[in-house]
Subunit: 337 residues, 2 copies
Amino acid sequence: MDAREIHLKRRPVGMPVADDFAMVVNSLPELAEGEVQVRNLWMAVDPAMRGRMSDAKSYVPPFALDAPMEGPAVGTVVASRDPGFAPGDIVSSRLGWREAFNAPASALRLRPDTGLPPQAYLGFAGVTGLTAYAGLLKIAALRPGDVVFVSGAAGGVGSIVCQIARLKGHKVIAAAGGAQKTAYLRDTLGVDAVIDYKAEPNLTRALAREVKAIGATGIDVYFENVGGEHLQAALALANPFARFAICGMISQYNVTDAPTVPRNLTLVMVKSIRMEGFIALNHMDIEPHFLADVTAWHKAGLLTATETVHEGIDHALDAFFGLFSGADLGRMLVKLG
Amino acid sequence: MDAREIHLKRRPVGMPVADDFAMVVNSLPELAEGEVQVRNLWMAVDPAMRGRMSDAKSYVPPFALDAPMEGPAVGTVVASRDPGFAPGDIVSSRLGWREAFNAPASALRLRPDTGLPPQAYLGFAGVTGLTAYAGLLKIAALRPGDVVFVSGAAGGVGSIVCQIARLKGHKVIAAAGGAQKTAYLRDTLGVDAVIDYKAEPNLTRALAREVKAIGATGIDVYFENVGGEHLQAALALANPFARFAICGMISQYNVTDAPTVPRNLTLVMVKSIRMEGFIALNHMDIEPHFLADVTAWHKAGLLTATETVHEGIDHALDAFFGLFSGADLGRMLVKLG
């Protein structure tokens, strides 16, 4: 079988461009013993991939040059030489950015049929959902009465954070860029207040206004996806003992100068704020609870999959670039099969 | 009895100057029922007082103008109209910056005779010690094998942090300003590595060098007293899952422009760092354990009181100013009686 793949050709400086990548056709060899052949149905793109395109030291190694990139994918087994997998099985893997692949069985995770659509494992039932769940419930240790501020609220993780906080009865202030996203957050997800950061000259003043509008004194939990001015606003409006779950700082990923915001970090001390960076992969211990909760919430109509879908691997880079131009609503997916 | 007091006359802008304060002689009235008269033996000054001289919102209210300032003091009861106190008792209070005072019994804390010198309650057996103890053991959750980095290491809190970390078997890298302080840290307190930040053009490189010198890969715990470039260095050299106890940021207190360092805060996310501001007063639940531990450590010769002593209330402001010019070694005390 021939499979198209997206390779990293050179390491981007600043914002990635199409010439940093190449589309390569790979002819899959015969399966070896213990291997499984998978046709990807869906892949997802996320901002953290930008980090792996650089060769800076991080918690995951950088992408190799002239090889297919990696990323979350869900697919169907075509052929198997491993007793644990059979044709037709739905499997998730880190082998996105390619239409099909052969891989050792250990690289695959069998997804039992729970009635969820396969792409749910790239969204609310996958690492994206676990990121929202672990960040909000474990890292930020959400407590009754907490006012929750979410940046990047219309994104893959953010849209799930908003929904979990709402279904648990919290007041939620959601920041996103553009009228379409803020309308979605307010009208579809039902958050209490929205901030269109692109329309606000001063984010701190905007957050202060919305805090007041919902009758709060400040924010107790901040779910951070953006960094920079958003973090500065969250520090300024934090209540004492606020907890910040630091999931991402997308505003900083393509910055070539070292950032100079936030400029009010002393407030961490003044207000006894706890700020903690995390990645979902270090919180797999709570995955069984997470899967039970999100499956129940989804079936009860309390948790919606928010998705932006691009069709075909030839649009995978458009999907990725769209993350940085703000063209995504919810999880950014590419339908491959 | 006449008692001299130091009043705040106007709110300092930037670095405080002598003209911001006034020495006032107060004639103490007759004791009312339920009141106690105390002659202060010792008072302490600390950098956090700078915050209360401003009227910015904080976890403690600002000092009132034209009234004696507040601060930790230990004294002896002269006369008492409360059954809980008798002449000769040693008491601690927040009523420093004055030679003597009348106060309701509720403002005083009786210190039983444990064989510790009275000024210990302003140092390792008081809030200073509890700050070191709670920050290191509870906020930073010190674990076996952790490499500990301490800034402001020769100060009141820092010198206790270094000693607790050492007596528990940890490798300690201590940063302070000047040859006298680094010699004290290395030779008297026995830390593993010292950094004289005043002699280093680049603190991040200096910390990297000392981390390497002690055979470590990075730091696991950072006890923050300084902020700015020190915090930037700690972020740069942090191991994954490092924990930062944010006790103070003295480098920032007199800054009138908003600070622009650290400029590498995204590392909180990249390395899953936890950063938490705290004050000892919110950790009084562990005070009994703390007092038992420090008393035993002191008697066993494992914990030394590091003190700089000024004599007389007319030198109290010199003591306070000395905190910011780096003229202190250990806890900055003023002997009043």
